[in-house]
């Protein structure tokens, strides 16, 4: 198996996805106690849209991120493909 290093873009996109998802976690918790805050809700929706776009872009290049149907997979089945999460 030739030793393949992950391209830098892999980590950049993952970090960007992690950043957007963290903002979503914060806003989600905030909106639990402030359901009528329109500004936060708009920000939440724009960030969740951005997160979905990032996820799609990442998955086109590097394979599925989630399983059980939350991500598509190209042929052959890519879910149990390396790198595993702890190898990233």
């Amino acid at each position: 198996m030739t030793e393949t290093h992950l391209p830098k873009a892999y980590y950049d996109m993952l970090e960007e996805l992690q950043t957007v998802d963290f903002v979503l976690v914060e806003l989600n918790l905030y909106l639990d106690t402030h359901p009528d805050d329109l500004e936060a809700l708009k920000q939440f929706n724009t960030f969740s849209k951005k997160s979905r776009e990032l996820r799609d872009r990442f998955e086109e290049q590097f394979g599925p991120l989630d399983q059980f149907g939350h991500s598509y997979s190209s042929y052959p089945w890519k879910w149990n493909d390396t790198p595993w999460p702890w190898q990233v």
């Binding site: 992690q18 950043t19 957007v20 963290f22 903002v23 914060e26 806003l27 905030y30 106690t33 402030h34 805050d37 500004e39 936060a40």
Partner: protein
């Protein structure tokens, strides 16, 4: 900038068995001062929010260790 760590000076008695600790510190996290979070608080940039661990500077409270600070100085 709110001070996250405050200090006080305990009473030192001449009969203390061990060498006295002159100043002791304690953490004062943001939620002590902030009751119900108001709307429209200003926010960090997303990348900075990830590093700081919160989206709102008002809620940022770094759990610094008083001992490391002494060591570093």
């Amino acid at each position: 900038m709110p001070t996250h760590r405050k200090s006080y000076h305990p009473y030192i008695s001449p009969f203390d068995p061990c060498p006295p600790i002159k100043t002791k510190t304690y953490e004062t996290p943001a939620q002590l001062y902030l009751g119900f979070q108001p709307k429209g608080l200003d926010q960090y940039q997303p990348s900075e929010a990830l590093k700081k661990g919160t989206l709102w500077p008002a809620l940022y409270s770094p759990y610094t260790s008083p001992y490391e600070k002494n060591k570093r100085e």
